[in-house]
């Protein structure tokens, strides 16, 4: 894929990604927010593919769009959350400060990025980012975190079920 095409694809994903993320924080309706987030995750997966992270891209879709967002949708639908009970903070000042602070954070990070300057991506092998490559490092270098993840998931399932069952 040529450079121009790659740049074009980058923007094809980036513009909707930012729009969708803004949608999450701007909208009042939780369903719309959740759908924006789903859109954002799909665009992000596209960006991951551009970064030759194939496995992570589809893991992103599988786990985020397929599992976590289904969970969110379930909760929104089960609790029948309407707009009234959602509203934004009543303290408008908070919002202003929030926006200001975030712009500040962004400015700081952006300066740091500018300081490092635009780095060109190096060429990577055919194997980079594929299932097998990731599997290999998970099997060797990151073995302990890998096993720990299963413990984390075990704790999560127990904790979540206990909490959710409290008044069911």
């Amino acid at each position: 894929m040529g450079d121009r095409a790659e740049m074009a694809v980058f923007w094809i994903f980036t513009v909707p990604l930012i729009a969708a993320s803004l949608g999450v924080v701007v909208t009042k309706n939780p369903i719309t927010a959740a759908m924006s987030l789903v859109g954002a995750f799909f665009c992000l997966a596209g960006i991951y593919v551009l970064l030759t992270a194939h496995l992570v891209a589809f893991l992103q879709i599988l786990v985020y769009a397929g599992a976590i967002m289904v969970l969110f949708l379930f909760v929104i639908m089960l609790l029948a959350l309407q707009e009234e009970i959602l509203g934004v903070s009543r303290i408008k000042v908070m919002q202003g400060f929030g926006a200001l602070g975030c712009v500040g954070v962004f400015a700081v990070i952006y300066r740091a990025i500018l300081a490092t300057g635009p780095r060109m991506m190096p060429q990577v092998g055919e194997d980079y980012g594929t299932v097998k490559a990731v599997g290999r490092i998970l099997f060797t270098q990151y073995l302990l975190p890998f096993e720990a993840t299963s413990l984390l998931l075990l704790v999560a399932i127990v904790g979540a079920v206990v909490v959710a069952k409290q008044r069911i």
């Binding site: 040529g2 589809f58 893991l59 289904v70 949708l73 299932v131």
Partner: protein
């Protein structure tokens, strides 16, 4: 079959034009679709496209400024071909299912539009396009309209990695099976949205049931998929097929007893994910009227239905790919394809072999499609709590056990390679015996009530 045959009503003769049109369509449409796929899929991929331009047009695309544009157009054309394949084939399958259902229920089935009612699905499509499109006033307008798109995209995307033949797959990604598992998410989101946005209680029931069902059965399906991955050592669909062979005992299903069990688990899970009987709870007509489809009408409804019947093909094709040897032709080694293809533009012999592999794949898939149809018109529907306990208490633990068994099995096979072949031959023989016994019992049941096997009157 009745003891008191009433004289058959005089057959109205199909008009000659309709007869010609329907027979032509019945032959030409599937044939044409497969031909287009056979030629378009390899030809529109960069490698062959470049080769074609270089050898036949004598230009060098590498120097073109708009080379990516050419590829993009090629991809869009390819996507269009597959979208049409999905739409037309699901239409044809809907007709086929209704005909088969007619035979199962000792009635005729659609027989008005064209010979054998073949044109009925076109009539249906035209009718659904011409129908008024209703959106309930109290529904969430935007999400109600958006839901079919989610389902449609989730369905069409399956064709990106779905193989049809040796070189006939749009894309052989290294994450192939993972891709298929992940895009199911789109369908779930679409169904949840359609159920919720309708603001109808029946739709909500259907949407909830469907989402719960699809996500639950994704676990046994995902575990079942892992076993072929373990055996093939790759996630790529084509890679998994290449790891198998053309003869039954070279298929994954027979090479490992756990895979044999998991094939049925996978098939059951796929039935559940496609909302087919006995897992048709989400649109259980006699309980939920039409489930999440209650408020949909016209073309939006048609989109959901297209996906439902299209799923028949995709679910069967996936099962064929990972368990039943895919497009592998008996006694044709994988190397032969590469040898025939050579380096330049492939010769006719290669195209012939590709066509044969496609035929094998389509034939296997159609067998499974018919099994799904057969099940639908035979079995009752299970209840929602039974659906859940079947999944979590039976399928998931058994899948886990099979998965762990396969881990051991792979170690054993690595030590004694003959084990796999022996198991393959043994399980194939067992399956043949079981099939024969089943056929005998069926024949006995048919003759016991004085019926006979009658395949006439199609």
């Amino acid at each position: 079959m009745s003891a008191l045959p009433t004289p058959a009503p005089a057959r109205t003769k199909t008009p000659r034009l309709a007869a010609i049109v329907s027979v032509t369509a019945a032959i030409a449409l599937p044939l044409g679709l497969f031909c287009v796929i056979l030629f378009a899929t390899p030809l529109l991929q960069p490698a062959l496209l470049d080769g074609f331009i270089r050898e036949r047009l004598h230009r060098d695309p590498a120097t073109w400024y708009w080379r990516d544009g050419v590829y993009t157009v090629a991809l869009l054309v390819l996507a269009f071909v597959f979208a049409n394949f999905a739409a037309i084939f699901s239409g044809i399958l809907s007709w086929w299912e209704r005909r088969v259902a007619g035979r199962i229920q000792s009635r005729i089935g659609p027989n008005r539009a064209g010979v054998g009612g073949f044109l009925v699905w076109i009539a249906d499509a035209v009718k659904l396009i011409l129908k008024e499109d209703l959106v309930p006033a109290e529904a969430d307008q935007m999400l109600f309209r958006a839901a079919p798109y989610f389902v449609m995209v989730g369905f069409i995307l399956t064709f990106v990695v779905l193989p049809f033949g040796e070189s006939i797959a749009v894309s052989d990604m290294n994450v192939g099976l993972f891709f298929i598992t992940s895009i199911t998410a789109l369908v779930v989101v679409g169904i949840l949205l359609s159920g919720w946005s309708s603001n109808s209680k029946w739709a909500l029931f259907g949407g909830m049931r469907s989402a719960a069902q699809v996500v639950s059965y994704e676990i046994p399906a995902g575990l079942a998929i892992m076993v072929p991955v373990l055996m093939a050592g790759t996630l790529s669909m084509q890679g998994i097929i290449r790891a198998q062979g053309g003869l039954p005992w070279q298929w994954f299903i027979f090479r490992n007893p756990a895979a044999f069990a998991l094939f049925f688990i996978f098939f059951t899970s796929q039935l559940a994910e496609a909302n087919r009987t006995p897992f048709d709870l989400p649109e259980a007509e006699s309980e939920l009227v039409a489930g999440y489809l209650s408020e949909y009408s016209g073309f939006r409804f048609a989109l959901f239905f297209l996906v439902e019947w299209g799923n028949l093909w995709t679910m069967s094709a996936i099962a064929v790919t990972i368990f039943l040897g895919g497009w592998q032709i008996p006694f044709v080694p994988n190397e032969l394809y590469a040898q025939l293809k050579g380096t330049g533009f492939p010769p006719l012999a290669w195209w012939g072999l590709e066509a044969a592999s496609m035929l094998v794949f389509a034939a296997k898939t159609m067998v499974l499609v018919n099994v799904v149809v057969w099940l639908r018109w035979t079995l009752p529907r299970i209840r929602v709590d039974q659906m859940m306990s079947l999944c979590w208490k039976y399928l998931v633990p058994v899948s886990f056990a099979c998965f762990l068994f396969t881990l051991l099995w792979q170690i054993a096979v690595a030590a004694v390679p003959a084990l796999e072949t022996a198991m393959g031959v043994g399980l194939t023989a067992v399956s043949v015996v079981l099939a024969v016994l089943f056929a005998r019992q069926t024949h006995r049941n048919i003759t016991a009530i004085g019926d006979r096997v009658d395949l006439s009157n199609w």
